[in-house]
Amino acid sequence: MRFFRMLLAGMALCIWLLPGCDRKEPIVPESEKPVFAGTILAIGDSLTEGYGLEEADAYPALLQQRLLAEGYRYKVINAGIGGETTSGLRSRIDWAITLSPDIVIIETGANDALRAIDTALIKGNMEAVILILKERNIPVVLAGMRIYKNLGADYASAFENIYPDLAGVHGLIFMPFFLKDVAGNPGLNQQDGMHPTAEGYRIISNNIYPYVVEAINRLKKK
C-alpha cells in the first residue's frame, strides 16, 4: 500500500526538496557556459518544484532560459519543496539564504490553505520570511495564490488577501496570481487538476518574467 506516500504526496501540492545545485550544471555546453551576474532563488512548494515533471520543465528553469535569452545573466535556483507549508518554509529560510541569493521569488501558502490552516498563522510565517530577506536587502517577488471556492467564501478571501497585504506593507514586487491563465484549464494541468504541465509552466514563466525583471532593475538601483 502506498499509503504513506499518498498521505504526503497526494494530500496537497506535494513534495519538496530543494535542489539548488541543479542549475549548477547547466544544460549548455561548457564552452558557452554563461557567467552569471547573480542568483535568483525560487522558493516555494510543489508548484515551484514542478511536481510530476522534469526540473527542466518547471518554471524556474524556463524563467532562467527566458532571462538568458533576453540578456539577463541570472541563474535561477529551483528551491521548491512539494508539500511544504509556510511553517516549513519558515523553518528552512535560514538555510536557504546560505545560497546568498540576490533576488528571492516566494510562492507558498497553498498547502496551508488546503488544510485550512489559520490565515493569521500563514500570514505570520510569510511575514517572518519576508523580514529575514528584507533585513538582508534582498528584493522579493511575491506570487499571489488563491484557494478553492469550496472551502468557503470567508476563508478563501481571507487567504487571498494575505498576499496583497504583505506586498503592500513591505513594498514587495507583487504578482497577483501565480497560476494566472493556467488554473482551471484541464489542458494546462496534470491529471490531478492541481499541478501545471510543462506547457502550463511556459505560460507561468512568461507571466512572472516582467516581475522578475522589475526585481533585477530594483537590484541594479541598489
Binding site: 500500500m1 499509503f3 498521505l7 504526503l8 523553518s91 498563522l121 510565517n125 470567508d154 490531478d192
Partner: protein
C-alpha cells in the same frame, strides 16, 4: 459377459477394502463439493462487498463537471430502464457554528435520496439515511460535535446555507479504505446543493455518478458504452474493475484454495489407488485361478472394471448425496461462526463439478491397479512373489495417459493453462521427490541393526515382499505435507494480518511538525508517540549511472524518477525485518550506509553494496546499500523506502510526522488542544480507516481459518482411510506370528513399532517439505513474511506420528482377536 454373482461375491469377500475404496471416493467428492460451495460463497460475498464498497455497480468520477455527452448517455440508459442513477459531490469546506462563530474544515458529501445503492450508511439513531437526510438538514460525524461543542439539533453553516444537525453518521459504505480525512464527514442533501453556493468554477470538487445496473448481465456492456463516450477527465469504473489490494489478495486466495483442493483430491486419488490395489491383491489368487481355468485377461479385467465402476458409482452417489447435505450443514453450522457479512450459499455448480471430478479421479487412479491384473499369471497360486513388471513402453504410455488426464483436470480446475500445467508438473515432481527420499530412508534403515526382538521384527516387516511400505510412506508423507502446509500457511497469513492491525496501532497522525516544535510536542503527547522525520530527495544516479528519467517515468508502476521521502533512525519498525544484510547499517563498510525497502528492488535492480546518489537539499549524497528490509505488506503503518543513520540526515531540513494511539472519545479534545497550541500541525484521525481495515482483515482471517479447517479435516479422513487400506493388506503376518506362538501383546508391539516408524518418518519428511512449500507460497504468492513456527511444527510431527501409529495399530486389532485358523481359512476361500 457380466457375471453379476461373481462381482457380488468379490465385493462381499473383500468388503473391508471395498468399503474403504468407496469411502475414499465419497470423501473426495464431499470435499470437492464442500470446497466448491465454499469458494463460490467467498466469491459471492466478495462481489457483494465490492458493490457496497462502491455503493453502486458502476461509478463515474471526475474532477470537473461531467461532459454533456456522458450525461446524455446516462439519461438514455435510464430511459431504457437499464440503470438507476444518483449523483454525489465530495469536497472540503470550512463549516461554521453560526452562534459561537467557530469554524472547522470538514469533508462534505452531497448525496441524493437513492444513495447508496448497495451497503448502508449507519446512523446513530438507527434510521435510514434517505429518511433522515431531508432538505435543510445535515448528518455529521460525532467528532464535529465534539470539536465545535455542538449537539444534535444545533444549526451549522455550510457554505451560504444554515442547516440543522439531524443525526450522527457512524459508518459510510463507500468510504475508501485508504482515505485519510482532514476533517469530519458532513452529509448534505442534494436538495440543498445550490443553496450552499460552493460549487463554482474555482472549486475543487469530486463529482461522481453512481449507477445501479438493473440486469447484472449488462454490466460490462453498459460500462464499455459509457467509457466510449467519457471524456479524458472522466473515469468509469465498475465494482469489479476497481483495483484494490484486498481484491487482488482474495483472487490469489481463491486460486490457492483451488490449488489446495486439488492437492487434497490428489491424496484422495492415492487413497483410492491404494485401497483398490490392496483389494485386488487380496484377490490375486482368485484371478490366478480364473486364468488357470481358462479365463482371458480381457474377461478378468472386464469383470473387475465393472466391479470398480459399480463401487465408484456407489461412492459417487453417496458422495453427491452427502455433499448435498454437507453444504446444507455448512450453511447451517457455520452461519454463526462466519465472519460478519459472509454468507454461505448453496451451490449446484459445485455439486455438478464434484460429480465430474469424482468420476475423473476414480478413472485416473483405478487404471493402474486394474492393468496389473493383466500381468497376474496362473502360477501365482503357487508362488508368493510379485508379478513381473509390465513392459517399460506400456508403463510409460499408461503413465503419460494418466498424467495428461491429470494435467487436463488441473487446467480445467484452475482455469489457467500455464499455472495448471505448472501445478501438475510440480505435483508430480513433488511425489517423485518424496518417493526418492523414502527410498533413501528405507535403504538406510535396512542396514540398521537392532537387538530387541519386537523392534527388529517390525523393521524386518517393512521389507517383507509384498509389503506396501513404500506406497504407504509416500501416501502418508504426501498427505501430511499438504495438511502441514495448509496449517503453516494459515498461521502465517493470520500472523501477518493480525500484525497489520494490532489493537494498539496508532490511529491519529500529526503532520507537518517543525523540528523546533518537537520538544514541546512530546510534552503534550507523551512518550509513546512515534516520530518519523521526513527529508525529501531525488535520486540522481545508481552506481554512477544517471537515472534515465524519461525511461523511468514510462514505467507503469512506481519509478525512481520521483521525489522520495527519506528518513533516519537506527532501529527497525515493528512491522519490518531485514531480508538481506547483517543489520540495518553495516558499520564495517566504508561510506554512508542506506537501508532500502525490498519494494525499491521492483523499480530497479539494486543489491547490497550498490551506490545510490541522492540529492538532498541541493547537496549530493552518495550512499551504499547496507541492508534490504521487508515489511508486512498491506499493513496500514507508515513506511519508508530509504532509511539513513541518524547522524547523516539529522541536520537536513525536514518536517516531522508523528503517530499515536488515542482512545476514540479523546481524539476531538486532543485535536483541539493540538490545533490551539500548534496551529500549523494537521491532525488526521485514522480511526475509521483502521477499523474498516481491521474489519476486512478479521473477515479474511476468519475465511482462511474456515478453509483450513475444511481441508485439514478432509485430509485427516483421507489419511485415516489410506492407513486402513494399506494396513489391512499385510495383516497376514500377525497370523504367522500367532501360529509361531507369539502372544497378542508381542504382535501388537511389533505392529505399534512398525506403525510408529512409518508415522515418524512420514511426519518428519512432511514437516520438511511443508516448511519449504509454505515458505515458497508465503513469499512468492502471498508476499508475506514467513515464520516457521518450530514449536507447532514439532508438536505436529509428534501428533501425526501418534495418530498414524494409533490408527494403524487399531486397524490391526480386529485381526488379532481372530483365531489364526479362522483367518487362514477365510484367506484361502474363494
Amino acid at each position: 459377459m457380466i457375471h453379476k454373482s461373481f462381482i457380488r461375491h468379490q465385493i462381499i469377500r473383500s468388503r473391508n477394502q471395498a468399503l474403504l475404496f468407496v469411502m475414499c471416493v465419497v470423501l473426495s467428492i464431499i470435499f470437492m463439493v464442500a470446497l466448491g460451495g465454499f469458494s463460490e460463497s467467498i466469491t459471492y460475498s466478495l462481489l457483494k462487498d465490492a458493490k457496497s464498497l462502491h455503493a453502486a455497480d458502476i461509478i463515474i468520477r471526475s474532477r470537473s463537471p461531467f461532459s454533456a455527452s456522458l450525461k446524455e448517455a446516462v439519461v438514455q440508459l435510464e430511459q431504457k430502464d437499464f440503470v438507476e442513477s444518483e449523483s454525489a459531490y465530495e469536497f472540503y469546506s470550512m463549516v461554521r457554528d453560526p452562534v459561537e462563530n467557530r469554524t472547522l474544515l470538514s469533508g462534505i458529501k452531497v448525496v441524493g435520496p437513492k444513495y447508496p445503492f448497495y451497503g448502508r450508511v449507519e446512523l446513530h439513531s438507527g434510521k435510514e439515511l434517505r429518511e433522515t437526510l431531508e432538505k435543510g438538514s445535515v448528518i455529521v460525524e460525532k467528532n464535529l460535535l465534539d470539536r465545535l461543542d455542538l449537539q444534535i439539533g444545533s444549526p451549522l453553516q455550510v457554505g451560504q446555507a444554515t442547516l440543522q444537525i439531524k443525526d450522527l453518521v457512524q459508518k459510510e459504505p463507500d468510504r475508501p479504505i485508504r482515505f485519510f480525512s482532514l476533517g469530519p464527514r458532513v452529509f448534505v442533501s442534494s436538495k440543498d446543493l445550490s443553496e450552499l453556493d460552493l460549487i463554482d468554477k474555482g472549486s475543487r470538487i469530486g463529482y461522481s455518478i453512481l449507477l445501479k445496473v438493473l440486469d447484472s448481465k449488462h454490466l460490462n456492456r453498459i460500462a464499455d458504452g459509457l467509457k466510449a463516450v467519457a471524456a479524458d477527465h472522466e473515469r468509469v469504473e465498475t465494482f469489479r474493475s476497481a483495483e484494490s489490494r484486498i481484491k487482488r489478495f482474495f483472487d490469489n486466495f481463491l486460486f490457492y484454495i483451488g490449488l489446495a483442493g486439488l492437492f487434497t483430491l490428489l491424496l484422495a486419488g492415492i487413497g483410492i489407488q491404494s485401497s483398490l490395489t490392496s483389494l485386488l491383491k487380496e484377490n490375486e489368487e482368485t484371478i490366478a485361478i480364473m486364468k488357470t481355468v481358462g479365463a482371458g485377461g480381457r474377461f478378468v479385467i472386464t469383470q473387475y472394471s465393472l466391479m470398480v465402476l459399480f463401487l465408484g458409482m456407489a461412492g459417487t452417489a453417496v458422495g453427491i448425496a452427502s455433499g448435498f447435505f454437507t453444504q446444507y450443514a455448512l450453511v447451517f453450522l457455520l452461519r454463526s461462526f462466519l465472519p460478519y457479512g459472509f454468507e454461505f450459499i448453496f451451490s449446484w455448480k459445485a455439486i455438478f463439478q464434484g460429480f465430474i471430478l469424482g468420476i475423473v479421479v476414480v478413472m485416473l487412479f483405478t487404471f493402474m491397479p486394474l492393468l496389473r491384473i493383466k500381468d497376474i499369471k496362473p502360477y501365482a497360486i503357487f508362488r508368493k512373489e510379485r508379478p513381473a513388471q509390465p513392459r517399460l513402453l506400456w508403463q510409460a504410455l499408461i503413465s503419460i495417459g494418466i498424467l495428461s488426464l491429470f494435467a487436463a483436470t488441473v487446467v480445467w480446475q484452475l482455469r489457467d493453462a500455464s499455472s495448471g500445467l505448472r501445478f501438475a508438473a510440480g505435483a508430480i515432481g513433488f511425489i517423485l521427490l518424496i518417493a526418492g527420499m523414502i527410498h533413501l530412508v528405507l535403504k538406510a534403515v535396512k542396514n540398521l541393526r537392532v537387538s530387541a526382538l519386537a523392534p527388529r521384527q517390525s523393521l524386518k516387516g517393512l521389507f517383507r515382499p509384498g509389503n506396501a511400505t513404500k506406497l504407504i510412506l509416500v501416501t502418508l508423507t504426501a498427505s501430511l505435507t499438504v495438511i502441514f502446509s495448509i496449517y503453516f500457511i494459515e498461521r502465517n497469513l493470520d500472523e501477518s494480518f493480525v500484525r497489520s492491525y494490532p489493537q494498539d496501532s496508532p490511529n491519529v497522525y500529526f503532520i507537518d511538525i517543525q523540528p523546533n516544535q518537537k520538544a514541546d510536542f512530546s510534552d503534550v503527547l507523551g512518550n509513546d508517540t512515534v516520530y518519523y522525520p521526513i527529508v525529501r530527495a531525488r535520486i540522481v544516479s545508481l552506481n554512477g549511472n544517471p537515472i534515465d528519467r524519461k525511461k523511468q517515468r514510462m514505467r507503469r508502476r512506481d519509478n525512481l524518477a520521483r521525489m522520495f521521502n527519506l528518513t533516519y533512525r537506527n532501529y527497525l519498525l515493528p512491522d519490518e525485518s531485514i531480508s538481506k544484510g547483517k543489520d540495518l547499517f553495516d558499520r564495517n563498510r566504508q561510506g554512508v550506509p542506506v537501508s532500502i525497502l525490498d519494494t525499491v528492488q521492483e523499480m530497479a535492480d539494486i543489491a547490497i553494496g550498490d551506490t545510490i546518489t541522492f540529492r538532498i537539499q541541493g547537496i549530493p549524497l552518495e550512499a551504499r546499500v547496507s541492508s534490504i528490509r521487508t515489511r508486512t505488506k498491506g499493513s496500514i503503518q507508515p513506511y519508508f523506502y530509504f532509511v539513513f543513520p541518524e547522524n547523516i540526515l539529522e541536520k537536513a531540513p525536514q518536517t516531522i510526522f508523528a503517530a499515536l494511539r488515542v482512545e476514540t472519545e479523546s481524539i476531538a479534545g486532543l485535536q483541539n488542544r493540538i490545533v490551539s497550541r500548534f496551529p500549523n500541525v494537521s491532525v488526521i484521525d485514522m480511526t475509521q480507516v483502521i477499523s474498516t481495515f481491521a474489519g476486512v482483515m478479521r473477515k479474511l482471517s476468519g475465511t482462511i481459518r474456515l478453509f483450513t479447517f475444511l481441508s485439514i479435516s478432509a485430509g485427516f479422513f483421507i489419511l485415516i482411510s489410506s492407513i486402513f487400506a494399506t494396513r489391512l493388506a499385510r495383516i497376514r503376518e500377525a497370523v504367522y506370528f500367532k501360529i509361531l506362538g507369539a502372544k497378542k501383546r508381542f504382535v501388537l508391539s511389533v505392529f505399534a513399532y512398525e506403525n510408529f516408524f512409518i508415522g515418524l518418518v512420514s511426519a518428519v519428511l512432511a514437516s520438511g517439505f511443508s516448511q519449504a512449500a509454505s515458505y515458497l507460497i508465503s513469499t512468492y504468492f502471498f508476499h508475506i513474511p514467513y515464520r516457521s513456527f518450530l514449536g507447532a511444527c514439532l508438536l505436529m510431527i509428534t501428533g501425526a506420528a501418534m495418530v498414524v501409529c494409533a490408527v494403524g495399530t487399531v486397524a490391526s486389532v480386529s485381526i488379532l482377536n481372530k483365531k489364526p485358523a479362522i483367518f487362514l481359512r477365510e484367506q484361502s476361500e474363494g
